[in-house]
Assembly symmetry: C2
Homo-oligomer: 358 residues x 2
């Protein structure tokens, strides 16, 4: 099977008229269960509970969610329709606070629904939501092509969290150069950060790489520094949830740690992200809201027991107090460049980002 045939089996999200289908990422890698979301409220729940996750996938889900809302509101008059869409947008926007893709998707869908009849607006929202997914696929492929040029033969790449097919669309962002290298038969090796607390690296990235037959090793987040100082890692590539104009980057908690370690060890640190992840209204990382999630994400964990039953365990003492920031901000100074669909953006970032996406 070719890389592309294998890729087809790993899809984050699809829309079929009013229905959204997605792989429930909470059950991976133990079960590949496709769930159907019948209305936009179910879609909001799926985003909030992280059945669908990853900046790009959340963005596409939000657009599709608004398409669902529009289709649900087709019997309303224009005034009530607009109110309904406004309320649905607000709810979708508040489902996850950090990834900018969500806001961009909603903005794009709302913009095409400013004029016309209810029927026309519905059609425009649906078309735009599909276009968002299509644009993401294009961006993903281009990120792969540009990023692959940064990988030497036998490169050892560290990645954090999951920025692959399930986090984005198609090839993802951080994994896209890696998949492109595989397509071109360039030998590479991937170190996969486990990415506590939700273990997206262990559960999703490792699973995706093994499905794509790309050689990898899972490591705990604590071990990345060990492999860096022992010269086992040549380059770090991560995704992003939101990038400010100055290059400060919000991404999964722990990204900042890897960036500091990479700099200390003179290892290039790249952020792979499409235009949809840049927030041109955001001057710097200080302005980015960081989501804090439940402490249960740390104190409990799910997996399968000896009988292959999906189970949840408490792994700490009862009532253990935990703080759980879900993202961190990596200051731009630690970032070597942004791999985007417009090519590699270099320093000074304020200039290169504005030039690329103006």
């Amino acid at each position: 099977m070719s890389v592309d045939e294998k890729l087809k089996k790993i899809f984050a999200i699809k829309r079929e008229n009013k229905k959204i289908k997605l792989i429930d990422q909470r059950l991976l890698p133990h079960k590949v269960k496709i769930i159907t979301l019948h209305n936009y409220n179910e879609t909001i729940e799926a985003i909030r509970d992280m059945a669908v996750r990853g900046a790009g996938s959340i963005g596409v889900a939000a657009g599709y969610g608004l398409a669902q809302a529009a289709l649900e509101a087709k019997h309303l008059n224009l005034e009530k329709f607009n109110k309904f869409i406004k309320a649905a947008s607000d709810k979708l926007l508040s489902s996850r606070p950090t990834a900018i893709n969500l806001r961009h998707s909603i903005d794009r869908c709302l913009k095409v629904a400013e004029n016309g009849t209810v029927t026309e607006r519905i059609q425009n929202i649906c078309n735009e939501s599909d276009k968002i997914a299509f644009d993401d696929i294009k961006a993903s492929r281009l990120i792969g092509v540009y990023g692959e040029q940064l990988l030497k033969e036998n490169s050892n790449i560290l990645t954090h969290c999951n920025a692959g097919a399930l986090a984005y669309i198609d090839q993802g962002t951080a994994l896209s150069p890696i998949i492109e290298a595989k397509r071109r038969h360039k030998p590479i090796f991937v170190y996969v950060d486990e990415t506590r607390p939700r273990n997206q690296g262990a559960k999703i990235t490792a699973w995706e790489l093994s499905k794509l037959e790309i050689p990898y090793a899972l490591i705990v987040d604590n071990a990345a520094g060990y492999f860096m100082i022992n010269k086992k890692i040549d380059v770090v590539i991560v995704g992003a949830d939101r990038i400010a104009v100055n290059g400060d980057t919000a991404n999964k908690i722990g990204t900042y740690e890897k960036a500091v370690l990479a700099k200390e060890n003179n290892i290039p640190f790249y952020v792979a992200a499409p235009s949809m992840s840049f927030d041109l209204k955001c001057e710097s990382g200080e302005r980015i809201e960081i989501e804090h999630r439940s402490s249960e994400e740390i104190t409990h964990i799910s997996g399968v027991n000896d009988s292959n039953e999906y189970t949840k365990l408490r792994i700490t003492a009862k009532n253990t107090k935990a703080y759980n920031p879900s993202f961190d901000i990596t200051p731009a100074k630690y970032i070597s460049g942004f791999i985007t669909e417009k090519g590699l953006l270099k320093k000074p970032f304020k200039k290169s980002i504005k030039n690329a996406f103006k």
Copy 2:
């Protein structure tokens, strides 16, 4: 209950003639089960399987293990006794490779068994093994007294892994200044790194602190950088498994990451360790053997289910490939000082370490 009364309930290891009793640390915090080791082979198994863990506790266990071996060999003639003790020492030494305390304990016990009758040698080994534990208690208390002076009122302290009562003896090493501050009613707060893969922070440090009623929050290893850059952490204190003469320090995997992050954020980074953790024969960190443990430590995890049954889960896909170095080396340049029973050792470390322990 006073701090000292609470402390008495948390003990790593005790010897009662030929029997060793210890809290099985693998079951914490879900069960406080005291197991009895009847002979030195059982003690080796307990060290290898990490029923007892932590540099100091391993050292004491090894001394006690040799005392068991000596008592087991009491019917042998001198020549056979010596052979038996030599074989037992070698097996004990190979049970865990990184912590130097183990070697120091064995060396001390062998040294006092160089002369005399079999009966005298047995008595000397037993006495020396008890003295090791007693010396560790003294060192632990002094580390507490010296280290507490480094903590300001309302200090926020980050610690990694477990270097408390169960890792060492009495108050431990890294936790000793914290316990001393509690004893003196100085308000402090502890951030506890979860410490994957074995979660000694989540399972043992958090449990010890909650038993001692010291305020803390558990965080994932990925989040320490977030709290550092957001100025929530004033000082980092960790333990050590082996310290070279130049100050390079082997400790639980992830320590190096925290040290680099602390330096980047101008946060003092202290290593709390007794003389027993210094390896004066070791010139630098490059000479320290790093233990690599089974990938199952990463791919599987234990905890309790809803019915409070102790269970093990697989948390990755089957056959996930993982690398699992258990320790890393923190180069001396990242370390602000060593909190020892001889006081705070400052730079240049080669001089201060040699002066303190010559």
